[in-house]
Symmetry: C2
Subunit: 420 residues, 2 copies
Amino acid sequence: MADKQPRIVIVGAGFGGIALAKQFAREDVQVTIIDRHNFHLFQPLLYQVSTAILSEDEIAYPIRTFFRDNANVEFFMAKAQGVDAERHVVLTDHGEVPYDYVILAAGATTNFFGMENVEKHSFGMKTLAEATHIRNHVLHMFERANKELVDAEERKRMLTFVVVGGGATGIEEAGALTELIQVLQKEFHHLDFSQVSVHLLEAMDTVLPMVSPNLQKHTIEVLKKKGVHVHLQAQVADYDGKAITFKDGTQLQTRTVIWAAGIKAVPFVANCGGQTGRGGRIIVDEQLRVEGVKDVFAIGDCAYFQHGTPRALPTVAPVATQEAKVAFRNVMKLVHGQQELEAFHYKDLGSMATIGRGEAVVNKTKINPELTGFIAWCAWMFVHLLRLAGAHTNVTVAMKWCWNLFSGTRLGRIITNIQD
Amino acid sequence: MADKQPRIVIVGAGFGGIALAKQFAREDVQVTIIDRHNFHLFQPLLYQVSTAILSEDEIAYPIRTFFRDNANVEFFMAKAQGVDAERHVVLTDHGEVPYDYVILAAGATTNFFGMENVEKHSFGMKTLAEATHIRNHVLHMFERANKELVDAEERKRMLTFVVVGGGATGIEEAGALTELIQVLQKEFHHLDFSQVSVHLLEAMDTVLPMVSPNLQKHTIEVLKKKGVHVHLQAQVADYDGKAITFKDGTQLQTRTVIWAAGIKAVPFVANCGGQTGRGGRIIVDEQLRVEGVKDVFAIGDCAYFQHGTPRALPTVAPVATQEAKVAFRNVMKLVHGQQELEAFHYKDLGSMATIGRGEAVVNKTKINPELTGFIAWCAWMFVHLLRLAGAHTNVTVAMKWCWNLFSGTRLGRIITNIQD
């Protein structure tokens, strides 16, 4: 009996993958989720781990816990390597996983646009390990600068922090860094903080491309007020771990480059039989099927969907979760022998970014055109707390945010990568 | 003026070191704390990080935060390597730190008693990194066993967990592991949990040497009730990562050995001019001065104090914090030109260990001879919450313990050591 259940395989346990699995869990199907991590990561709050506001496990939720009561959902911890559509198996580093239908919801990774030196020396902002590395590194820079009594140039380089990319992640990271530095300033009694600086680099001529020019201007003003040096039209050409070289030949001395300037689909989707478009995303038809490959669907950051829109849909969580609903319904139609599938239509619900303690911008397309300041920050907090998985996580996170708002202290400032 | 302040150097930011620095902070002296980590670690709760109850930053507190308002206290992040008493400098991997008086409060490390294979293949339980390694490894064993469909012997080896050492740490770790396994059992829908076992090995003929025979018996009973296989008089001779070999030649197949069977002083104290005793601890006189070395004191786990007691004082936090008071007063006497120093006398305040959710044993030497069960667990919780540093930490920890008590869930079950 159980052998006759259709086997649904979902690759990736991000927003899209978890949304899919929750729907399939209620159906008479066998579900396998493949992910290389055993947790779902709440990526929008990675910057808070990287700046010592939250703990790792507050934004990471065990995948199995979602499906505790669903015996038909199995988790398979492995790194997906491709899809063999002929043989109907997903290839992984822990063997093959057979499927009747597979949905790729594998997400994206950092795009260094081929600059190998930059990739080697700077920090990505996509994984939990990367966020922890940033926290450890930034705190370490202060400890090292504090001990560096001879080489003033090197000390300044250690105290110069650069975030590349004026999207939500870059804005949030730069804003949170300035606040972290304020906390540190109270505790380094002998370090000259006039030497400390935070820089935000953006290749275009403005930040946050998805919000109105008005909000863009406001964001830059708030960042500047927080002490962030905002460099627009600043195109990075190289970084050797000590100095950034710009396209125009000028340099910026720094020991810290956090790269939030671009993403691309995880590379394995190129090995799934379909064609890839811009950003390495796998091209899907209006029904979210990988074009030209039977029984394979794709959603979210790893899928290239361009039907009725001037560009491919953006790589944001709402696209993935909306696509998850349609992909689910379409797979179930096939399971039930129907061939007429539903086309996907994206509803843009607006966007938001926080610029630090008590400051945010919200671009809401319908109800209210735009919000800024404390009220926007409350909206941001509310939306993110609602979406965070897990009862005790929500409560401890809410508590830490309140504590952080009122006291300005950050107790997560521990350096954990010391050996022995 | 500031240059004339006596320079007090404290090596180690454990219970003893922090207690010392807090006292010196109020005096007209310059204080430097040296530690290789930037945080004070609440070691008694390491087992809770290793079993996914608490987050890392809930038992680690930034050292600088203690001394935010004390401009005369400086933190120096480095690994101490020795003391040059002639030149009055502490040697570190980041250069020399001059002192007028130095107090060694550097703590202890795991003692594998010269068994190199055991050291190579098993997990210590003394550092935050080790606790996180244990959590990652144990969770990984379940994920790997779940995928191991061919080799039944290997699967069983992965599901066999061994804790060596019947002291408080070993007891607590074994108890917490059985509870973690109960949580996992609800979420691995296809794994045979009759194959899972937890073993506690103790070389002596009983556990918890510091409590009464009555409490020892009770502890073993509670452990057995929780499903722990308690092996007394079990002496480990070797471990190759797959099987433990006992002194009597028998073997136990396992992929996981957690070594809580012994500690020794951190090795650098042997390089401080004095003599070392049992466990590599540096021998101190009744006034806590390192014997034969001027202006060098030692307290806590790294100090060997045996005056009026049949054995050296035990390596527990109360010894360190009580010694910190006398060492402080004695150093201040020297600062003020007095030569008559105070002798140290230890007050044994009893001991406690928790055996899991709602179960503990408390051996109180004076007020109440002994406590067990839920009331003992409440006492344990109360004492540990009181001693935990940091306001928000206490509250989130208290909340997680309540959540854990009532729901039995552990949301910290994330595997964080995956490299892409």
